[in-house]
Protein backbone atom coordinates (compact mmCIF):
# COMPACT_ATOMS: atom_id res chain seq x y z
CA UNK A 1 0.00 0.00 0.00
CA UNK A 2 2.89 2.30 0.88
CA UNK A 3 4.16 1.97 -2.69
CA UNK A 4 0.91 1.33 -4.52
CA UNK A 5 -0.85 4.56 -3.55
CA UNK A 6 1.99 6.85 -4.76
CA UNK A 7 2.25 4.80 -7.94
CA UNK A 8 -1.47 5.12 -8.53
CA UNK A 9 -1.19 8.89 -8.00
CA UNK A 10 1.69 9.07 -10.50
CA UNK A 11 -0.41 7.13 -13.03
CA UNK A 12 -3.49 9.28 -12.46
CA UNK A 13 -1.64 12.62 -12.69
CA UNK A 14 0.30 11.43 -15.76
CA UNK A 15 -2.91 10.39 -17.51
CA UNK A 16 -4.50 13.76 -16.75
CA UNK A 17 -1.49 15.49 -18.29
CA UNK A 18 -1.65 13.29 -21.42
CA UNK A 19 -5.38 13.92 -21.79
CA UNK A 20 -5.01 17.68 -21.41
CA UNK A 21 -2.25 17.62 -24.04
CA UNK A 22 -4.64 16.36 -26.71
CA UNK A 23 -7.85 17.98 -25.45
CA UNK A 24 -7.77 21.75 -25.94
CA UNK A 25 -11.29 22.29 -24.54
CA UNK A 26 -11.73 24.82 -21.74
CA UNK A 27 -12.62 22.12 -19.17
CA UNK A 28 -9.33 20.35 -19.83
CA UNK A 29 -7.33 23.60 -19.78
CA UNK A 30 -8.89 24.65 -16.47
CA UNK A 31 -7.93 21.30 -14.99
CA UNK A 32 -4.40 21.79 -16.31
CA UNK A 33 -4.24 25.28 -14.79
CA UNK A 34 -5.31 23.92 -11.39
CA UNK A 35 -2.73 21.14 -11.57
CA UNK A 36 -0.02 23.72 -12.27
CA UNK A 37 -1.19 25.73 -9.26
CA UNK A 38 -0.82 22.58 -7.17
CA UNK A 39 2.84 22.28 -8.18
CA UNK A 40 3.46 25.80 -6.89
CA UNK A 41 1.59 25.05 -3.67
CA UNK A 42 3.62 21.87 -3.08
CA UNK A 43 6.86 23.78 -3.75
CA UNK A 44 5.91 26.51 -1.27
CA UNK A 45 4.82 23.99 1.37
CA UNK A 46 8.13 22.14 1.03
CA UNK A 47 10.16 25.30 1.62
CA UNK A 48 9.93 25.21 5.45
CA UNK A 49 11.28 21.65 5.35
CA UNK A 50 14.26 22.94 3.36
CA UNK A 51 14.84 25.82 5.75
CA UNK A 52 14.67 23.45 8.72
CA UNK A 53 17.17 21.14 7.04
CA UNK A 54 19.57 24.01 6.30
CA UNK A 55 19.43 25.31 9.87
CA UNK A 56 19.77 21.84 11.35
CA UNK A 57 22.82 20.94 9.28
CA UNK A 58 24.40 24.33 10.01
CA UNK A 59 23.92 23.99 13.76
CA UNK A 60 25.07 20.36 13.78
CA UNK A 61 28.22 21.31 11.88
CA UNK A 62 28.94 24.15 14.30
CA UNK A 63 28.53 21.83 17.27
CA UNK A 64 30.72 19.11 15.81
CA UNK A 65 33.55 21.20 14.41
CA UNK A 66 34.70 24.34 16.23
CA UNK A 67 36.50 25.57 13.08
CA UNK A 68 33.15 25.72 11.26
CA UNK A 69 31.45 27.89 13.86
CA UNK A 70 32.25 31.22 12.26
CA UNK A 71 30.85 30.13 8.88
CA UNK A 72 27.76 28.67 10.51
CA UNK A 73 27.19 31.92 12.36
CA UNK A 74 27.52 33.91 9.12
CA UNK A 75 24.99 31.59 7.44
CA UNK A 76 22.45 32.02 10.24
CA UNK A 77 22.91 35.79 10.53
CA UNK A 78 22.75 36.22 6.74
CA UNK A 79 19.57 34.18 6.61
CA UNK A 80 17.90 36.14 9.41
CA UNK A 81 18.94 39.57 8.08
CA UNK A 82 17.66 38.83 4.56
CA UNK A 83 14.32 37.64 5.91
CA UNK A 84 13.88 40.72 8.09
CA UNK A 85 15.05 43.08 5.33
CA UNK A 86 12.43 41.71 2.93
CA UNK A 87 9.47 41.43 5.30
CA UNK A 88 7.53 44.33 3.79
CA UNK A 89 6.92 44.77 0.07
CA UNK A 90 8.11 48.39 0.20
CA UNK A 91 11.38 47.34 1.81
CA UNK A 92 11.83 44.87 -0.97
CA UNK A 93 11.00 47.15 -3.90
CA UNK A 94 12.53 50.44 -2.71
CA UNK A 95 15.92 51.04 -4.29
CA UNK A 96 17.36 52.58 -1.12
CA UNK A 97 16.21 49.92 1.36
CA UNK A 98 18.47 47.57 3.30
CA UNK A 99 17.23 44.70 1.17
CA UNK A 100 18.22 46.46 -2.07
CA UNK A 101 21.60 47.44 -0.67
CA UNK A 102 22.33 43.91 0.48
CA UNK A 103 21.28 42.71 -2.94
CA UNK A 104 23.29 45.23 -4.93
CA UNK A 105 26.43 45.31 -2.84
CA UNK A 106 26.77 41.76 -1.50
CA UNK A 107 24.75 39.33 -3.55
CA UNK A 108 25.41 40.77 -7.01
CA UNK A 109 29.23 40.93 -6.66
CA UNK A 110 29.37 37.54 -4.93
CA UNK A 111 27.37 35.83 -7.67
CA UNK A 112 29.26 37.60 -10.44
CA UNK A 113 32.56 36.53 -8.86
CA UNK A 114 31.52 32.90 -8.70
CA UNK A 115 30.37 32.94 -12.31
CA UNK A 116 33.57 34.63 -13.44
CA UNK A 117 35.56 31.80 -11.88
CA UNK A 118 34.22 29.76 -14.74
CA UNK A 119 36.65 31.58 -17.06
CA UNK A 120 39.61 30.34 -15.01
CA UNK A 121 38.23 26.82 -14.85
CA UNK A 122 37.55 26.79 -18.59
CA UNK A 123 41.16 27.89 -19.24
CA UNK A 124 42.49 25.19 -16.95
CA UNK A 125 40.21 22.48 -18.40
CA UNK A 126 41.09 23.55 -21.96
CA UNK A 127 44.80 23.40 -21.09
CA UNK A 128 44.47 19.82 -19.86
CA UNK A 129 41.85 18.46 -22.26
CA UNK A 130 42.72 19.97 -25.65
CA UNK A 131 45.61 17.72 -26.61
CA UNK A 132 45.83 16.05 -30.02
CA UNK A 133 46.15 12.53 -28.60
CA UNK A 134 44.18 10.89 -31.44
CA UNK A 135 42.91 11.93 -34.87
CA UNK A 136 39.45 12.69 -33.41
CA UNK A 137 40.94 14.70 -30.56
CA UNK A 138 42.90 16.66 -33.18
CA UNK A 139 39.67 17.47 -35.05
CA UNK A 140 38.10 18.68 -31.79
CA UNK A 141 41.19 20.74 -31.00
CA UNK A 142 41.27 22.41 -34.41
CA UNK A 143 37.54 23.13 -34.31
CA UNK A 144 37.78 24.70 -30.87
CA UNK A 145 40.75 26.74 -32.04
CA UNK A 146 38.93 28.07 -35.09
CA UNK A 147 35.80 28.94 -33.08
CA UNK A 148 37.83 30.82 -30.49
CA UNK A 149 39.77 32.63 -33.20
CA UNK A 150 36.52 34.41 -34.07
CA UNK A 151 37.05 36.61 -31.06
CA UNK A 152 40.60 37.56 -32.00
CA UNK A 153 40.90 40.52 -34.38
CA UNK A 154 42.41 39.51 -37.70
CA UNK A 155 43.01 41.43 -40.92
CA UNK A 156 40.33 41.27 -43.63
CA UNK A 157 39.35 39.09 -45.42
CA UNK A 158 40.56 36.54 -42.82
CA UNK A 159 38.14 37.84 -40.24
CA UNK A 160 35.08 37.48 -42.52
CA UNK A 161 36.18 34.05 -43.76
CA UNK A 162 36.64 32.90 -40.20
CA UNK A 163 33.25 34.28 -39.13
CA UNK A 164 31.54 32.46 -42.04
CA UNK A 165 33.43 29.24 -41.31
CA UNK A 166 32.51 29.40 -37.61
CA UNK A 167 28.88 29.95 -38.51
CA UNK A 168 29.04 26.88 -40.74
CA UNK A 169 30.63 24.85 -37.91
CA UNK A 170 27.88 25.92 -35.51
CA UNK A 171 25.05 25.42 -37.96
CA UNK A 172 26.10 22.18 -39.63
CA UNK A 173 28.39 19.75 -37.74
CA UNK A 174 27.58 21.19 -34.31
CA UNK A 175 23.89 21.09 -35.01
CA UNK A 176 24.00 17.59 -36.47
CA UNK A 177 25.65 16.28 -33.30
CA UNK A 178 23.28 18.20 -31.06
CA UNK A 179 20.20 17.01 -32.90
CA UNK A 180 21.41 13.43 -32.65
CA UNK A 181 21.82 13.79 -28.89
CA UNK A 182 18.51 15.65 -28.60
CA UNK A 183 16.58 12.95 -30.51
CA UNK A 184 18.09 10.36 -28.17
CA UNK A 185 17.29 12.47 -25.12
CA UNK A 186 13.73 13.13 -26.34
CA UNK A 187 13.00 9.47 -27.01
CA UNK A 188 14.71 8.46 -23.77
CA UNK A 189 12.55 10.96 -21.88
CA UNK A 190 9.34 9.61 -23.46
CA UNK A 191 10.35 6.02 -22.68
CA UNK A 192 11.30 6.96 -19.13
CA UNK A 193 7.99 8.79 -18.67
CA UNK A 194 5.97 5.79 -19.88
CA UNK A 195 7.98 3.59 -17.50
CA UNK A 196 7.16 5.99 -14.66
CA UNK A 197 3.45 6.02 -15.52
CA UNK A 198 3.25 2.26 -15.74
CA UNK A 199 5.11 1.86 -12.45
CA UNK A 200 7.97 -0.03 -14.12
CA UNK A 201 10.52 2.60 -13.07
CA UNK A 202 10.32 3.15 -9.34
CA UNK A 203 13.92 3.68 -8.24
CA UNK A 204 13.09 7.30 -7.36
CA UNK A 205 10.85 5.91 -4.64
CA UNK A 206 13.63 3.72 -3.34
CA UNK A 207 13.14 0.78 -5.73
CA UNK A 208 11.04 -2.35 -5.16
Amino acid sequence: MKKQLPMFLVFLCGMIMIVQFVVPHEYSQTLFQHSQDFVIVIGVLALPIGIYSLMKSTVTKARREPKERLYSLITIIGFAVMIIAGLKRDWFTSSTSLSSNLFNYILVPAQATLFSMLAFYIASAAYRAFRARTALAAVLLITAFVVMLRLIPMPEPLSTWNAEFVRWILEVPNMAAKRAILIGVGLGAVTYSIKLLLGIERAYMGGD
Partner: protein, 411 residues
Protein backbone atom coordinates in the same frame (compact mmCIF):
# COMPACT_ATOMS: atom_id res chain seq x y z
CA UNK B 1 -15.13 68.00 -14.02
CA UNK B 2 -18.71 67.09 -15.02
CA UNK B 3 -18.65 69.65 -17.81
CA UNK B 4 -15.46 68.24 -19.24
CA UNK B 5 -16.96 64.74 -19.04
CA UNK B 6 -20.02 65.96 -20.95
CA UNK B 7 -17.77 67.56 -23.55
CA UNK B 8 -15.96 64.29 -24.18
CA UNK B 9 -19.22 62.34 -24.41
CA UNK B 10 -20.52 64.84 -26.96
CA UNK B 11 -17.28 64.63 -28.89
CA UNK B 12 -17.43 60.84 -29.00
CA UNK B 13 -21.08 60.97 -30.06
CA UNK B 14 -20.25 63.43 -32.83
CA UNK B 15 -17.45 61.20 -33.99
CA UNK B 16 -19.88 58.31 -33.91
CA UNK B 17 -22.31 60.15 -36.14
CA UNK B 18 -19.80 61.54 -38.53
CA UNK B 19 -17.63 58.43 -38.83
CA UNK B 20 -20.10 56.00 -40.36
CA UNK B 21 -21.69 58.71 -42.46
CA UNK B 22 -18.36 59.38 -44.08
CA UNK B 23 -17.70 55.72 -44.54
CA UNK B 24 -21.09 54.49 -45.54
CA UNK B 25 -22.29 57.42 -47.53
CA UNK B 26 -20.88 58.13 -50.94
CA UNK B 27 -17.50 56.51 -50.26
CA UNK B 28 -15.46 55.77 -53.36
CA UNK B 29 -13.47 53.09 -51.53
CA UNK B 30 -14.77 49.59 -52.23
CA UNK B 31 -15.35 47.46 -49.13
CA UNK B 32 -13.81 44.04 -48.63
CA UNK B 33 -16.05 41.13 -49.64
CA UNK B 34 -16.94 37.55 -48.70
CA UNK B 35 -16.32 37.94 -44.98
CA UNK B 36 -16.35 34.55 -43.23
CA UNK B 37 -16.21 33.96 -39.47
CA UNK B 38 -15.21 30.46 -38.38
CA UNK B 39 -14.26 28.75 -35.15
CA UNK B 40 -10.50 28.61 -34.50
CA UNK B 41 -9.63 24.92 -34.46
CA UNK B 42 -7.78 23.23 -31.60
CA UNK B 43 -8.56 25.85 -28.99
CA UNK B 44 -10.52 26.02 -25.79
CA UNK B 45 -13.47 27.75 -27.39
CA UNK B 46 -13.05 31.49 -27.12
CA UNK B 47 -11.67 32.35 -30.53
CA UNK B 48 -13.08 33.26 -33.96
CA UNK B 49 -11.09 33.39 -37.18
CA UNK B 50 -12.16 35.98 -39.78
CA UNK B 51 -11.17 35.88 -43.43
CA UNK B 52 -12.26 38.10 -46.32
CA UNK B 53 -11.50 38.95 -49.91
CA UNK B 54 -9.55 42.19 -50.41
CA UNK B 55 -11.27 45.38 -51.47
CA UNK B 56 -11.47 46.08 -55.20
CA UNK B 57 -9.36 49.16 -54.42
CA UNK B 58 -6.76 47.06 -52.64
CA UNK B 59 -3.89 49.37 -53.64
CA UNK B 60 -5.50 52.27 -51.74
CA UNK B 61 -6.27 50.31 -48.56
CA UNK B 62 -4.03 51.11 -45.63
CA UNK B 63 -5.93 49.11 -42.99
CA UNK B 64 -8.87 46.80 -42.64
CA UNK B 65 -10.78 47.61 -39.45
CA UNK B 66 -12.54 44.80 -37.64
CA UNK B 67 -15.71 45.56 -35.67
CA UNK B 68 -17.92 43.34 -33.52
CA UNK B 69 -20.99 43.62 -31.36
CA UNK B 70 -19.99 43.72 -27.69
CA UNK B 71 -20.61 40.76 -25.44
CA UNK B 72 -23.64 41.06 -23.19
CA UNK B 73 -23.75 38.77 -20.13
CA UNK B 74 -26.96 36.67 -19.82
CA UNK B 75 -28.11 38.55 -16.70
CA UNK B 76 -28.14 41.82 -18.67
CA UNK B 77 -30.39 40.52 -21.42
CA UNK B 78 -30.21 38.46 -24.59
CA UNK B 79 -27.16 38.82 -26.87
CA UNK B 80 -27.22 41.82 -29.19
CA UNK B 81 -28.21 41.03 -32.79
CA UNK B 82 -27.15 43.12 -35.81
CA UNK B 83 -30.69 43.95 -36.89
CA UNK B 84 -31.41 45.53 -33.49
CA UNK B 85 -28.33 47.72 -33.44
CA UNK B 86 -27.07 51.01 -34.79
CA UNK B 87 -23.50 51.78 -35.87
CA UNK B 88 -22.57 53.10 -32.45
CA UNK B 89 -23.26 49.72 -30.89
CA UNK B 90 -20.40 48.18 -32.85
CA UNK B 91 -16.94 48.32 -31.36
CA UNK B 92 -13.59 48.16 -33.06
CA UNK B 93 -11.59 45.10 -32.00
CA UNK B 94 -8.54 45.58 -34.15
CA UNK B 95 -7.04 46.47 -37.50
CA UNK B 96 -4.69 44.75 -39.89
CA UNK B 97 -2.47 46.11 -42.64
CA UNK B 98 -3.92 46.42 -46.15
CA UNK B 99 -2.23 43.31 -47.53
CA UNK B 100 -3.63 41.06 -44.79
CA UNK B 101 -7.06 39.46 -45.20
CA UNK B 102 -7.40 37.51 -41.95
CA UNK B 103 -7.87 38.31 -38.29
CA UNK B 104 -8.25 36.11 -35.25
CA UNK B 105 -10.04 37.32 -32.16
CA UNK B 106 -9.50 35.32 -28.99
CA UNK B 107 -10.71 36.47 -25.61
CA UNK B 108 -11.50 34.16 -22.73
CA UNK B 109 -12.05 36.61 -19.88
CA UNK B 110 -15.62 37.62 -19.11
CA UNK B 111 -14.51 40.54 -16.98
CA UNK B 112 -11.77 43.16 -16.81
CA UNK B 113 -11.32 43.90 -13.12
CA UNK B 114 -14.85 44.47 -11.84
CA UNK B 115 -16.29 45.44 -15.26
CA UNK B 116 -17.78 43.18 -17.91
CA UNK B 117 -15.44 42.54 -20.82
CA UNK B 118 -17.25 43.58 -24.05
CA UNK B 119 -14.59 41.79 -26.13
CA UNK B 120 -15.27 38.39 -24.56
CA UNK B 121 -15.88 35.67 -27.13
CA UNK B 122 -18.49 33.30 -25.66
CA UNK B 123 -18.32 29.58 -26.29
CA UNK B 124 -21.15 28.00 -28.34
CA UNK B 125 -22.89 31.37 -28.79
CA UNK B 126 -22.89 33.76 -31.75
CA UNK B 127 -20.56 36.74 -32.02
CA UNK B 128 -21.20 39.19 -34.87
CA UNK B 129 -18.44 40.77 -36.93
CA UNK B 130 -18.05 43.14 -39.84
CA UNK B 131 -15.04 44.70 -41.55
CA UNK B 132 -14.36 47.87 -43.49
CA UNK B 133 -11.38 49.31 -45.32
CA UNK B 134 -9.57 52.56 -44.55
CA UNK B 135 -7.40 54.44 -47.05
CA UNK B 136 -4.28 56.39 -46.16
CA UNK B 137 -6.15 59.69 -46.55
CA UNK B 138 -8.74 58.60 -43.98
CA UNK B 139 -11.45 57.61 -46.46
CA UNK B 140 -13.56 54.76 -45.14
CA UNK B 141 -15.36 52.11 -47.15
CA UNK B 142 -18.81 50.75 -46.31
CA UNK B 143 -18.97 47.83 -43.90
CA UNK B 144 -19.29 44.27 -45.14
CA UNK B 145 -22.58 42.64 -44.17
CA UNK B 146 -22.42 41.31 -40.59
CA UNK B 147 -21.49 37.65 -40.22
CA UNK B 148 -21.88 35.26 -37.30
CA UNK B 149 -18.99 33.41 -35.74
CA UNK B 150 -19.59 30.68 -33.19
CA UNK B 151 -16.55 29.74 -31.11
CA UNK B 152 -16.46 26.08 -30.13
CA UNK B 153 -14.39 24.27 -27.54
CA UNK B 154 -12.54 21.47 -29.31
CA UNK B 155 -12.23 18.04 -27.78
CA UNK B 156 -9.28 16.85 -29.81
CA UNK B 157 -6.13 18.68 -30.87
CA UNK B 158 -5.63 17.52 -34.44
CA UNK B 159 -2.14 19.05 -34.59
CA UNK B 160 -0.93 16.62 -31.94
CA UNK B 161 -1.89 13.35 -33.58
CA UNK B 162 1.72 12.66 -34.57
CA UNK B 163 2.95 12.87 -30.95
CA UNK B 164 0.14 10.62 -29.80
CA UNK B 165 0.84 8.04 -32.52
CA UNK B 166 4.57 7.90 -31.68
CA UNK B 167 3.79 7.58 -27.95
CA UNK B 168 1.34 4.72 -28.64
CA UNK B 169 3.77 2.94 -30.97
CA UNK B 170 6.53 3.31 -28.40
CA UNK B 171 4.24 2.08 -25.60
CA UNK B 172 3.15 -0.96 -27.64
CA UNK B 173 6.74 -1.82 -28.57
CA UNK B 174 7.75 -1.47 -24.91
CA UNK B 175 5.12 -3.98 -23.80
CA UNK B 176 6.15 -6.34 -26.62
CA UNK B 177 9.83 -6.26 -25.67
CA UNK B 178 9.07 -6.55 -21.95
CA UNK B 179 7.15 -9.76 -22.68
CA UNK B 180 10.01 -10.95 -24.85
CA UNK B 181 12.57 -10.24 -22.15
CA UNK B 182 10.36 -11.91 -19.53
CA UNK B 183 10.28 -15.07 -21.66
CA UNK B 184 14.01 -15.16 -21.14
CA UNK B 185 15.21 -13.82 -24.47
CA UNK B 186 18.54 -12.13 -24.04
CA UNK B 187 18.49 -8.42 -24.93
CA UNK B 188 21.88 -6.88 -25.47
CA UNK B 189 22.78 -3.55 -23.89
CA UNK B 190 26.09 -2.11 -24.96
CA UNK B 191 28.58 -1.47 -22.14
CA UNK B 192 28.33 2.03 -20.66
CA UNK B 193 31.71 2.80 -19.04
CA UNK B 194 30.36 5.44 -16.64
CA UNK B 195 27.93 2.95 -15.13
CA UNK B 196 30.24 -0.04 -15.07
CA UNK B 197 32.73 1.99 -13.01
CA UNK B 198 30.27 2.90 -10.24
CA UNK B 199 31.17 -0.05 -8.02
CA UNK B 200 34.88 0.56 -8.55
CA UNK B 201 34.51 4.22 -7.59
CA UNK B 202 32.59 3.34 -4.42
CA UNK B 203 35.22 0.71 -3.56
CA UNK B 204 37.94 3.32 -3.88
CA UNK B 205 36.22 5.65 -1.42
CA UNK B 206 35.80 2.76 1.01
CA UNK B 207 39.48 1.84 0.78
CA UNK B 208 40.49 5.44 1.38
CA UNK B 209 38.04 5.79 4.27
CA UNK B 210 36.57 8.98 2.77
CA UNK B 211 32.98 9.92 1.99
CA UNK B 212 31.16 9.84 -1.34
CA UNK B 213 29.41 12.92 -2.69
CA UNK B 214 26.26 12.65 -4.79
CA UNK B 215 25.02 15.81 -6.54
CA UNK B 216 21.55 15.62 -8.11
CA UNK B 217 22.03 18.82 -10.12
CA UNK B 218 20.21 22.11 -10.03
CA UNK B 219 17.02 21.01 -11.74
CA UNK B 220 13.70 20.17 -10.14
CA UNK B 221 12.06 16.89 -9.21
CA UNK B 222 9.84 17.25 -12.27
CA UNK B 223 12.70 16.75 -14.72
CA UNK B 224 13.47 13.35 -16.19
CA UNK B 225 17.25 13.72 -15.77
CA UNK B 226 16.77 14.39 -12.04
CA UNK B 227 14.56 11.32 -11.68
CA UNK B 228 17.18 9.27 -13.54
CA UNK B 229 19.71 10.65 -11.05
CA UNK B 230 17.65 9.09 -8.26
CA UNK B 231 17.97 5.69 -9.94
CA UNK B 232 21.73 5.90 -9.74
CA UNK B 233 21.54 7.34 -6.22
CA UNK B 234 19.55 4.27 -5.13
CA UNK B 235 22.23 1.99 -6.53
CA UNK B 236 25.09 3.99 -4.99
CA UNK B 237 23.30 4.15 -1.61
CA UNK B 238 22.82 0.38 -1.59
CA UNK B 239 26.54 -0.13 -2.11
CA UNK B 240 27.58 2.48 0.44
CA UNK B 241 25.26 0.80 2.95
CA UNK B 242 27.04 -2.49 2.33
CA UNK B 243 30.48 -0.93 2.67
CA UNK B 244 29.43 1.50 5.42
CA UNK B 245 30.88 4.44 3.54
CA UNK B 246 29.34 7.84 4.33
CA UNK B 247 27.20 9.20 1.46
CA UNK B 248 26.68 12.99 1.32
CA UNK B 249 23.76 14.30 -0.73
CA UNK B 250 23.46 18.11 -0.70
CA UNK B 251 20.37 19.25 -2.66
CA UNK B 252 19.03 22.51 -4.01
CA UNK B 253 15.32 21.89 -3.70
CA UNK B 254 13.31 20.90 -0.61
CA UNK B 255 11.09 18.51 -2.60
CA UNK B 256 14.19 16.83 -3.98
CA UNK B 257 15.60 16.55 -0.47
CA UNK B 258 12.53 14.68 0.77
CA UNK B 259 12.74 12.35 -2.24
CA UNK B 260 16.48 11.79 -1.77
CA UNK B 261 15.96 10.88 1.89
CA UNK B 262 13.29 8.34 0.93
CA UNK B 263 15.47 6.86 -1.82
CA UNK B 264 18.57 6.50 0.36
CA UNK B 265 16.62 5.16 3.33
CA UNK B 266 14.95 2.50 1.16
CA UNK B 267 18.32 1.56 -0.32
CA UNK B 268 19.84 1.13 3.15
CA UNK B 269 16.84 -1.00 4.19
CA UNK B 270 17.23 -3.09 1.04
CA UNK B 271 20.93 -3.59 1.84
CA UNK B 272 19.93 -4.73 5.34
CA UNK B 273 21.76 -1.87 7.06
CA UNK B 274 19.11 0.64 8.20
CA UNK B 275 21.25 1.27 11.29
CA UNK B 276 23.95 2.94 9.16
CA UNK B 277 21.52 5.38 7.52
CA UNK B 278 22.13 8.95 8.63
CA UNK B 279 19.38 11.37 7.50
CA UNK B 280 21.60 14.36 8.33
CA UNK B 281 23.85 13.47 5.39
CA UNK B 282 21.08 14.47 2.98
CA UNK B 283 20.48 18.16 3.38
CA UNK B 284 19.16 21.25 1.67
CA UNK B 285 21.54 24.12 0.92
CA UNK B 286 20.02 26.77 -1.32
CA UNK B 287 17.74 27.03 -4.33
CA UNK B 288 20.19 29.49 -5.87
CA UNK B 289 22.71 28.10 -8.31
CA UNK B 290 25.94 29.71 -7.13
CA UNK B 291 25.47 29.64 -3.36
CA UNK B 292 24.69 25.94 -3.86
CA UNK B 293 27.90 25.46 -5.87
CA UNK B 294 29.97 27.37 -3.31
CA UNK B 295 28.64 25.15 -0.51
CA UNK B 296 29.17 21.91 -2.43
CA UNK B 297 32.71 22.92 -3.43
CA UNK B 298 33.44 23.76 0.20
CA UNK B 299 32.11 20.37 1.20
CA UNK B 300 34.43 18.63 -1.29
CA UNK B 301 37.47 20.51 -0.02
CA UNK B 302 36.71 20.04 3.68
CA UNK B 303 35.47 16.46 3.63
CA UNK B 304 38.02 15.37 0.98
CA UNK B 305 35.41 13.28 -0.82
CA UNK B 306 37.02 10.37 -2.67
CA UNK B 307 34.28 9.90 -5.25
CA UNK B 308 31.90 12.46 -6.69
CA UNK B 309 28.77 11.68 -8.70
CA UNK B 310 27.04 14.41 -10.71
CA UNK B 311 23.77 13.07 -12.08
CA UNK B 312 20.87 15.22 -13.20
CA UNK B 313 20.25 18.64 -14.70
CA UNK B 314 23.27 20.96 -14.72
CA UNK B 315 23.87 24.45 -15.96
CA UNK B 316 26.91 26.73 -15.65
CA UNK B 317 27.86 25.05 -12.38
CA UNK B 318 28.93 21.82 -14.10
CA UNK B 319 32.54 22.89 -14.65
CA UNK B 320 32.77 24.72 -11.31
CA UNK B 321 31.86 21.49 -9.51
CA UNK B 322 33.93 19.17 -11.69
CA UNK B 323 37.09 21.32 -11.49
CA UNK B 324 36.82 21.59 -7.71
CA UNK B 325 36.49 17.81 -7.58
CA UNK B 326 39.48 17.44 -9.82
CA UNK B 327 41.53 19.67 -7.47
CA UNK B 328 40.74 17.34 -4.54
CA UNK B 329 41.77 14.34 -6.66
CA UNK B 330 38.37 12.63 -6.52
CA UNK B 331 37.18 10.04 -9.02
CA UNK B 332 34.28 11.73 -10.78
CA UNK B 333 31.38 10.24 -12.70
CA UNK B 334 28.93 12.61 -14.34
CA UNK B 335 25.73 12.35 -16.35
CA UNK B 336 23.39 14.93 -17.79
CA UNK B 337 20.98 15.45 -20.64
CA UNK B 338 21.95 19.12 -21.02
CA UNK B 339 23.86 19.17 -24.27
CA UNK B 340 25.73 22.39 -23.46
CA UNK B 341 27.18 20.94 -20.27
CA UNK B 342 28.31 17.60 -21.70
CA UNK B 343 31.62 18.99 -23.09
CA UNK B 344 32.53 20.42 -19.68
CA UNK B 345 31.85 17.13 -17.95
CA UNK B 346 33.76 15.19 -20.61
CA UNK B 347 36.76 17.50 -20.15
CA UNK B 348 36.79 17.56 -16.36
CA UNK B 349 35.39 14.24 -15.06
CA UNK B 350 36.59 10.67 -15.48
CA UNK B 351 33.40 9.19 -16.97
CA UNK B 352 30.37 10.91 -18.47
CA UNK B 353 26.92 9.54 -19.22
CA UNK B 354 25.81 11.38 -22.34
CA UNK B 355 22.12 12.23 -22.66
CA UNK B 356 20.04 9.08 -22.92
CA UNK B 357 22.77 6.94 -21.27
CA UNK B 358 21.66 8.56 -18.04
CA UNK B 359 18.10 7.38 -18.61
CA UNK B 360 19.32 3.89 -19.42
CA UNK B 361 21.03 3.61 -16.03
CA UNK B 362 18.21 1.76 -14.27
CA UNK B 363 17.98 -0.89 -17.00
CA UNK B 364 21.75 -1.27 -17.18
CA UNK B 365 22.25 -1.55 -13.44
CA UNK B 366 19.27 -3.75 -12.60
CA UNK B 367 19.24 -5.97 -15.77
CA UNK B 368 15.54 -6.46 -15.04
CA UNK B 369 13.51 -7.54 -18.13
CA UNK B 370 10.85 -4.93 -17.29
CA UNK B 371 13.48 -2.22 -17.58
CA UNK B 372 15.55 -3.66 -20.42
CA UNK B 373 12.54 -4.18 -22.74
CA UNK B 374 11.68 -0.47 -23.02
CA UNK B 375 15.29 0.29 -23.98
CA UNK B 376 14.99 -2.02 -26.96
CA UNK B 377 11.68 -0.39 -27.94
CA UNK B 378 13.34 3.01 -27.76
CA UNK B 379 16.12 1.81 -30.06
CA UNK B 380 13.60 0.49 -32.58
CA UNK B 381 11.76 3.82 -32.71
CA UNK B 382 15.07 5.63 -33.04
CA UNK B 383 16.01 3.39 -35.97
CA UNK B 384 12.63 4.15 -37.56
CA UNK B 385 13.15 7.91 -37.12
CA UNK B 386 16.61 7.61 -38.64
CA UNK B 387 15.24 5.72 -41.64
CA UNK B 388 12.45 8.23 -42.13
CA UNK B 389 15.00 11.06 -41.99
CA UNK B 390 17.22 9.40 -44.62
CA UNK B 391 14.27 8.52 -46.86
CA UNK B 392 12.82 12.01 -46.44
CA UNK B 393 16.08 13.64 -47.48
CA UNK B 394 16.39 11.31 -50.47
CA UNK B 395 12.79 11.92 -51.52
CA UNK B 396 13.10 15.69 -51.29
CA UNK B 397 16.46 15.69 -53.09
CA UNK B 398 15.75 13.18 -55.87
CA UNK B 399 11.98 13.37 -56.44
CA UNK B 400 11.46 16.95 -55.21
CA UNK B 401 8.30 15.83 -53.39
CA UNK B 402 7.40 16.04 -49.68
CA UNK B 403 5.26 12.95 -49.16
CA UNK B 404 7.18 11.68 -46.12
CA UNK B 405 7.19 15.11 -44.60
CA UNK B 406 3.44 15.46 -45.04
CA UNK B 407 3.01 12.00 -43.51
CA UNK B 408 4.56 13.04 -40.21
CA UNK B 409 3.38 16.66 -40.16
CA UNK B 410 -0.14 17.06 -38.75
CA UNK B 411 -2.70 18.86 -40.92
Amino acid sequence: MRLSGLFWILLVLCAGFTGPARGQGASDLAPPTDLVAADIPNDKGHGVQLTWEPSADASRVQFYEIYRLPYRPPDEGPPLRPEETVDDDWMRVGAVAGGVTAYAQTEGNTTIGAENNPLYVPRDAPTYYRVRARAADGTLSAFTPAVTGIAKGNWFHTQRVNVLVIAFVLGALMLYFIQKAKRGEKIYIRPIPGLSRIDEAIGRATEMGRPILFVLGTGTAAEIATLAGYTILARVAEKTAEYQTPLLVPVNDPVMMVMAKATVKEAYLKAGRPDVYNPDNIFYISAMQFPYVAAVNGLMLREKTATNFYMGVFHAESLLLAEAGSITGSIQISGTDRVAQIPFFVAATDYTLIGEELYAASAYLAQDPKLVGPLKAQDMVKAAILMLAVLGVLEMTVFKTEWIRSLITPH
